[in-house]
Amino acid sequence: MKMTVKSTVAACALIASAGAAWADCGIESGSVRILSNDFAALHAVADGAATCASDTVEVTANATEEHKSIQVPALTTSPATYTVAVIASNSIVPLLNDDLIRPLDEYVAKWGGQLQENQLIRINGKIMAVAFMANAQHMFYRKDILAENGIEVPKTYAEMMAAAQKLRDAGVMETPLASSYMPGWNLAAEFVNSYLSTGNEFFVPGTAELAIDNVDGIAVLETLKGMTEYMYADWATYDANSQKPVWEANEIAIAINWGSRAGAFIGDDAADPAIAEQTAFAAAPAMYDDGIPSAALWWDGFTIAKNISDEDAEASFRAMMAGVSPEMMAENADLAVWLIDGYEPTAAAVGVIGNVQGGARPYPMEPYMGLLHTALGDNIVEYLQGKESAEQALADIAAAYNAAATEAGYLN
C-alpha cells in the first residue's frame, strides 16, 4: 500500500515536472525584460515571449508610449534596465548612435531558424535587429459614400481633393477629409510621407546637408495646405487617435491613418458596425500622376541590449523567438502586417500591402533624420494657417534644422 502511494506520488511528480518543462521554451535560466511601445500588436509579441517564463526564467514587459524617451538612459546603465528594446525604423537610430545594442549574428545562427531573410536588419554587415511587422500610413475610405457619388478610389492627392470637392458640392459632407496634422511629430510625418513620394532626397547624399528647398518641397507644402481646405476647422489638433471618433461619427469620407490602426476600425468592437462594414483601405495617394504612394514604410522589430550578461542576452533572444513565432502570428493575424513566415494578408492589411506593391520608400534611417523631423514638425503649421509663404516655411525649417544639426555635431 505504502509502495503504491509512494510510486503514485512519484509518478505524478514526474509527469507534472515534464509538463512544466514542456510549457516553457526550454530556456535554462535568465532574465528577459522587454521595453516596447504601447499598441495591440506589440502586446501580442510580449505575451508570446511571456510563454517562456518559468521558475528560472523571468519575463517582464513594459509597454509605454514613452519608450523612445526612456530607452537610451535605460539601456545605458550597466546592467541595462531592459534586455530587449522593441524599436522601429527611427527609434533604432539613437541606440545605434550610442552603441547600446549588440549584434545578433550568433543568436540568429543558433536559434533563428524560423526567421526569413527580409526580417534581418543588417547594418554595416552585422544583424542589429530582427523585424517582425511592417507599418505605414495609407488611405481609409467609405465605400458607400464614394460609390453613391460616383467617385473612384483616388490615386493622387489631386484626385482626393477633387473627390472632396464633389462631396461638398453634392451637399454630402462639408469637410470630408482628415489626416493627422497636429504640429510636431504627426505633421512632420505627413510631410515626410509626401516628400518621399516625389522621389527626391532629403539630404545631399553622404552628408547632413539639407536638400528639401526645391520644387518638390514647395509642391508638398502646397498639397498639405490644399488638403486643409477640406478638413474640419480643428485640423491642427488631430492626431491618429482623434480621427477615430470623428470617423465613427460619420463625418469623414476619406482619411489618412496608420495601418496598425486599421484593424480597430473594422474590428468587432468598432463603435458603429454599419460604418465599420463600409470602411475600406487603399494605398496612400501619390503626389504626382503615376507616382509612388505617399507613405514611408516603417518596420517594427526588436534588439538586444549590450550592457547585459550573455546569459540574459541569449535567453532574451530565445524568448523573443517565441514572441515572433508563426504560432503567435496565427492567433493574432489581423493585428499587424506581419513579416513572419506564413503570413496571409487580412482585410486590415490591404493598405500597407498596397503601399509596398506600389513601391513606397522606407522611412530614412540617417542619424540626423530625427532632427529634420523635429524641425519640420515645428515650422510647417504657420504656412498651413496662411501666416507665411511656402518659401519662408522652408527657410524656417532649414534654420531650425541647421541650428540643431550644428549643435548635435552633424554640421559645422
Binding site: V72, N118, A131, M365, A400, E407, A408, G409
Partner: protein, 342 residues
C-alpha cells in the same frame, strides 16, 4: 539678530538650497556652453525588409574614443545663446538690414522661434497676472460677505480650479471648448456661427489659454485675499461706516490699501509662475498657435534621437534671466528697505 545666530538658524535650508538649487543651475549653465562632438559618419550597406541601400551611420568606435577624451563635448562659448534657435543675433542683423519698414521687421522677428515663444510668454504673464489679482479679490470680498451657512461649500468650489492638476484641468477644458463640447456648441449657438471653432484661430487659442490661466490661478489669489480680509481692522471699518461711506467706498478706501502688500505678494508669485507656463499648451494641443519658453525646453529634450541638451540648457538660463528681469523692481525695493533698516 547677530549674524552668527542668523546663520545657525538658516544653515540647513541654506545647505539644501545650495545642493538642490544652486548646484544644478550652475551645472546647467556650464552645460549650455558646450555642444556635441563632430559626428564621424561612415557610409555602409543597410539591409531591411524593404531592400538594401547605402546608408550613412555614425562610427561608434571613433565617437567613443572622442567622448572618453572630452566628456563634456566641444566648447562652444556663448554661440548657443546667439544661434538662430535662441537670441538669433545674426538673423536679427539680417532682418534689420534687408527690411523696409517697421512692420516687416516686427513680423520677421516674431517669426524667429525664441522670440515667438517669448512674445506669448510675456503676453500671458502680463495679461493673466492682473486679471488673477482682480478676480481673486472680487471672489474674496463676495465670499466674505456670504452668510456662514454658505461659506464652506462656496469656498470649496472656488478652490477647485487650483486643486485640479493643470494638465487634467486643461484637458477637461479642451474637450469642453471643442465644437461638439458644451462650451463650444454653446458659443456657436450664441454667436449664430456654425463654423466658430475656438481651436482653429490662433487669436482665439491665445484667448482660451489666458482664460484658462485666470481660471486656474485665481483661487490662489482668493485664498490669500480671503485670509487678509479676516484681519482688516474693524475700528477703521466702523469709523468709515460712521463717516457715511457706502459699501464701494469702504472697499476702495479701507480694504484695498490694507490688502495692497498681499496683492504685491500675489503679483510676485504669479509673475514667476506664469512666466514658466507649459501644461496648458500641452493640454490644449495649442503648439500650433502658442509656444512658450518652457515648451521650447521640453521640445529640445524630447528629440529622442539626439536630445539637444545644450540648447535646452541655454533656453533655461534665458528663462532664469527673464524671471530676474521681471522681479527686478520688487527685488530692488526689498533691497532698499533692507539697507534702510540696517
Amino acid at each position: 539678530m547677530p549674524h552668527k545666530t542668523f546663520l545657525a538658524f538658516i544653515w540647513p535650508s541654506l545647505l539644501a538650497m545650495i545642493l538642490f538649487i544652486a548646484v544644478p543651475i550652475l551645472s546647467v549653465a556650464y552645460q549650455s556652453l558646450f555642444i556635441e562632438h563632430e559626428q564621424i559618419l561612415v557610409t555602409s550597406e543597410n539591409c531591411g525588409p524593404f531592400g538594401c541601400k547605402p546608408q550613412v551611420s555614425v562610427d561608434v568606435d571613433a565617437m567613443r574614443q572622442l567622448r572618453e577624451e572630452q566628456p563634456m563635448g566641444r566648447f562652444n562659448g556663448l554661440n548657443t545663446y546667439t544661434n538662430s534657435s535662441h537670441l538669433a543675433f545674426n538673423d536679427i542683423n539680417e532682418i534689420f538690414r534687408s527690411s523696409e519698414n517697421f512692420n516687416e521687421i516686427r513680423n520677421k522677428i516674431m517669426n524667429l522661434p525664441f522670440y515667438k515663444a517669448l512674445i506669448f510668454t510675456v503676453s500671458y504673464t502680463f495679461i493673466v497676472t492682473p486679471l488673477v489679482i482682480i478676480l481673486g479679490f472680487i471672489v474674496a470680498v463676495v465670499v466674505n460677505s456670504l452668510p456662514n451657512l454658505f461659506k464652506g461649500p462656496v469656498i470649496f468650489f472656488s478652490l477647485l480650479p487650483m486643486i485640479v492638476t493643470p494638465l487634467v484641468g486643461s484637458l477637461v477644458l479642451y474637450w469642453m471648448i471643442d465644437s461638439r463640447g458644451i462650451i463650444g456648441a454653446g458659443l456657436q449657438s450664441l454667436f449664430g456661427d456654425p463654423n466658430l471653432s475656438l481651436k482653429a484661430s490662433p487669436v482665439l487659442t491665445w484667448v482660451t489659454l489666458f482664460v484658462y490661466g485666470v481660471w486656474h490661478s485665481s483661487p490662489f489669489a482668493f485664498v490669500v485675499f480671503y485670509a487678509g480680509l479676516q484681519t482688516v481692522p474693524s475700528d477703521t471699518m466702523e469709523s468709515a461706516m460712521v463717516d457715511g461711506a457706502n459699501r464701494w467706498e469702504r472697499i476702495r478706501f479701507v480694504t484695498m490699501p490694507y490688502l495692497l502688500p498681499l496683492a504685491t505678494f500675489i503679483a510676485l508669485m504669479q509673475l514667476m509662475d506664469n512666466f514658466r507656463i507649459f501644461e496648458p499648451i500641452i493640454g490644449f494641443s495649442a503648439a500650433a498657435s502658442a509656444t512658450s519658453l518652457s515648451f521650447l525646453i521640453y521640445n529640445d529634450l524630447r528629440a529622442s534621437e539626439s536630445p539637444l541638451f545644450g540648447s535646452a540648457a541655454a533656453t533655461s538660463m534665458l528663462t532664469i534671466v527673464g524671471v530676474i528681469i521681471l522681479l527686478l523692481p520688487v527685488l530692488r525695493r526689498n533691497w532698499r528697505e533692507f539697507n534702510r533698516k540696517s
